[in-house]
Amino acid sequence: MKPDNRLRQSPVQLDGRPHRTLVRDHWPVVCEYADEGDGPWLVDLSHCQRIDIQARPLAAMIPEGLPEPEAPGEVRIQDQSLITRMGKAQACLWRFGQAAAFPVGFNGTEITEATLALAILGRHTFAIAEKLSSLDLQAPGRSLPRLYQGPFAQVPCQLVVLDAAAGREMLLLSCSRGYGRDMVGAITNAGAEFNLRPAGEDRFMRMFENREKGA
C-alpha cells in the first residue's frame, strides 16, 4: 500500500518560519516556529476538532465524562477539551487532544471545517483585542474562563477568555472559515506595535494544560 500523503489545508498560513511540524489526521501542524519571541503570540488551531451541539435538554447530549456549563457564557475545561455554553440549547465542544468520533444519535455537528480557530496568547493580548473589538473582554466580576459571542474585527466570533492574568493571557477565537486571511491580517496589523509573532501549537498546549490544572 502506498503511503497516504494527502494533506488538508488550514484556512490560514501564519507568516513565520516553522521550526518543528508534524502531520495529524492529514493536517499539517506547526508545533513550534523559529524565534517565537516572548509574546504576544498568535496560534492557528483550525485543525483542532470543534463540535456544535444543539439539543433540548442540552445536558443529555454532552459527551460522557464532560461537565456541562450551566449558564450561557460559562465555559468548562476538562481532559484537553473545552466546552462553551452558547445559549439555552446550544454548546460548542473544542477538543485540543485527540479528535473523537461521534457517538450514535449524537445531536452534534462537526464544525471544524466551517470555522477558523486562533489563539492570541501572552502579554498585550488584550491591548491587541481592544484595537479590534469594543467587547469588554475584561469586565470585572466575571469568572474565567468565559465565552463572549460578538464582533471581533467586525466579524461575528466566538471568543473565549481563558486567562487574563499578567503574562498568562489566553484568548481563543473562532469565526467563519472564509474570513481566515482577513482575520489574521487584522490581528497581525493590530499586534505589530506589540511585536506579535506566530507560535506553534505546543505553546498553546502548554499554556492550556497549565490553565486546566489551575482551573
Partner: protein, 406 residues
C-alpha cells in the same frame, strides 16, 4: 436697499375657519399652500407648524435635485420639478440658488451597471438627459475619483445626469413662505394639531393648541410625523417606517467637487455647497425612531466609505453632522392620496429621502387635487391601495448592511 426691512412672512392670529388646513410647515405643505393660492385662488389657507417652518426634513436634507429615478411613474414628476426651480426663483423673487452642476452616480459592479442602464434608458425614452460613462469618462468629469483597482469595490462606470444639481433648501422654505404670505396664506408656527374632527363622513375641523379650526380640507404633510398623525388622528395606519437619516459637512474648501457624486455600493453621496463645504451622507440605521440623533458608527462608516472612491477627502475635516426623519415606504415611493379615510382628508407623505426634490411639483398637483377633488393623473400611481393590491412600485433600493455576515 434690497428691501432690507421687509419681513418675509407675517405672523397672524389663528382664524376659526379656513378653506384648507395644511398640517406641516415643511416644503410640501408650503408648496401646496402656495399653489392653492396661486393656481386656484384658494387663499384662505392655514399652514400649521408645530415648531418653525423648515424645522424638519425641509431644513435637514442635503438639497440634491435630479430626475434619474427608475420608473416611468416617478420620472415625469421629478423632471417637472427640475424645471420649476428657475420659474419659482423668478416668481417668488427669492434666489433658490439652483446650481445646475449635474449628478454622477457610480457603479461598482456589473449588476449596478445593468440597473443604471435601465434608469438611463428609461430617462432617455422620456426625454431626460442621462447617460452612461465608463470609468475613464467618470474621472474626466470628477478628477478626484479613484478609478483604480485599489478600492474594495472598484468603479465600473457611472450614470451622468446633467440636468440635476443642488438647490439651497432653506431658500426654498423661506421663498415659499414669502410667496404664501404675500398671497394671504396664514402660517402658524409653534402651533400643534391635536385632533381632527369628522362630520357625516367628511372632515370638519382641526383641533390645535391654539383653538379649533373648521375646514373642509385637511392635508397631512407632516413628513416624519405624518404616519403618526394618520394613525392617531385619522385612524388610518400607513405602511411607513420612520428612520433617522444622517448627513454631515466638512469644513469649507476651495472648489474641488463640481458635481454631485454618489455611489450605491458605498451608500453615500458627496457634493460641494456654494460655501465650499463637502456635504455627504445617505445611510439610515434600519430601526424606526423619532430622535434625529446622530450616531458614532455612522460618521465613522461614512468617513471610511466616501474616502474609498474620493480618497483626497481623507484630508478634509468633518465639522458637523445632523439627522432628520425619513418616512420610508416598502417600495421607496410616496403615498399621495385623497379622501382617505374620509372625504376632505388628503395625504402627501412617505417620501423617504426624496421629499426635497419632489416638493414643489407635488405641491402644485396636490393643490389641484385639493381644489378640484379630482386626482391628477400624474399622482394616481401613488395611491395607498397599491400596497394591499400587491402592486408595489419599482423604485427600490436595498438598505445598507455594513456588518459582516456569518
Amino acid at each position: 436697499m434690497f428691501g432690507l426691512h421687509k419681513r418675509l412672512w407675517a405672523a397672524r392670529p389663528v382664524k376659526s375657519s379656513y378653506d384648507a388646513v395644511i398640517i406641516g410647515g415643511g416644503l410640501h405643505g408650503l408648496a401646496t399652500a402656495y399653489f392653492l393660492a396661486r393656481d386656484h385662488n384658494i387663499t384662505n389657507v392655514a399652514v400649521i407648524e408645530k415648531r418653525f417652518i423648515g424645522f424638519g426634513g425641509s431644513g435637514r436634507n442635503t438639497a440634491i435635485v435630479r430626475a434619474n429615478q427608475r420608473t416611468q411613474e416617478n420620472l415625469p414628476l421629478y423632471k417637472e420639478a427640475l424645471d420649476l426651480w428657475p420659474e419659482l426663483t423668478r416668481e417668488l423673487d427669492f434666489n433658490l440658488m439652483f446650481h445646475n452642476c449635474g449628478n454622477l452616480n457610480l457603479a461598482h459592479s456589473e449588476a449596478a451597471l445593468k440597473a443604471m442602464r435601465l434608469q438611463v434608458a428609461s430617462a432617455q425614452f422620456l426625454g431626460i438627459d442621462s447617460r452612461l460613462l465608463d470609468p475613464k469618462e467618470c474621472k474626466e468629469v470628477v478628477p478626484a475619483l479613484d478609478i483604480s483597482g485599489r478600492p474594495r469595490y472598484p468603479i465600473t462606470g457611472g450614470m451622468y445626469h446633467p440636468p440635476g444639481g443642488i438647490v439651497r433648501h432653506d431658500a426654498v422654505v423661506w421663498g415659499l413662505a414669502k410667496g404664501c404670505s404675500r398671497r394671504g396664506v396664514h402660517i402658524h408656527q409653534g402651533t400643534e394639531v391635536t385632533g381632527i374632527g369628522f362630520e357625516k363622513g367628511k372632515v370638519a375641523w382641526v383641533d390645535t393648541d391654539r383653538g379649533k379650526i373648521r375646514t373642509p380640507r385637511v392635508l397631512n404633510a407632516a413628513g416624519g410625523y405624518s404616519a403618526g398623525i394618520a394613525s392617531r388622528l385619522m385612524g388610518l395606519r400607513l405602511p411607513i417606517s420612520v428612520l433617522t437619516i444622517q448627513a454631515m459637512v466638512t469644513q469649507p474648501l476651495k472648489p474641488l467637487l463640481h458635481h454631485v457624486v454618489s455611489s450605491g455600493a458605498y451608500h453615500c453621496y458627496a457634493n460641494q455647497t456654494l460655501k465650499g463645504e463637502i456635504v455627504t451622507g445617505a445611510h439610515m440605521d434600519p430601526w424606526p425612531n423619532f430622535t434625529t440623533q446622530t450616531t458614532a458608527a455612522y460618521i465613522k462608516h461614512q468617513a471610511e466609505f466616501v474616502t474609498e472612491f474620493l480618497p483626497c477627502l481623507k484630508g478634509a475635516k468633518f465639522m458637523r453632522i445632523w439627522g432628520g426623519l425619513a418616512d420610508m415606504t416598502p417600495d421607496m415611493a410616496p403615498i399621495i392620496d385623497g379622501h382617505v379615510p374620509a372625504e376632505g382628508c388628503f395625504l402627501d407623505c412617505g417620501w423617504g429621502y426624496f421629499g426635497f426634490k419632489s416638493s414643489t411639483v407635488t405641491g402644485r398637483y396636490m393643490a389641484r387635487y385639493m381644489a378640484t377633488g379630482e386626482c391628477p393623473e400624474i399622482l394616481q400611481p401613488f395611491a395607498l391601495k397599491r400596497f394591499q393590491e400587491h402592486r408595489l412600485m419599482g423604485e427600490t433600493a436595498a438598505l445598507v448592511d455594513y456588518s459582516a455576515n456569518n
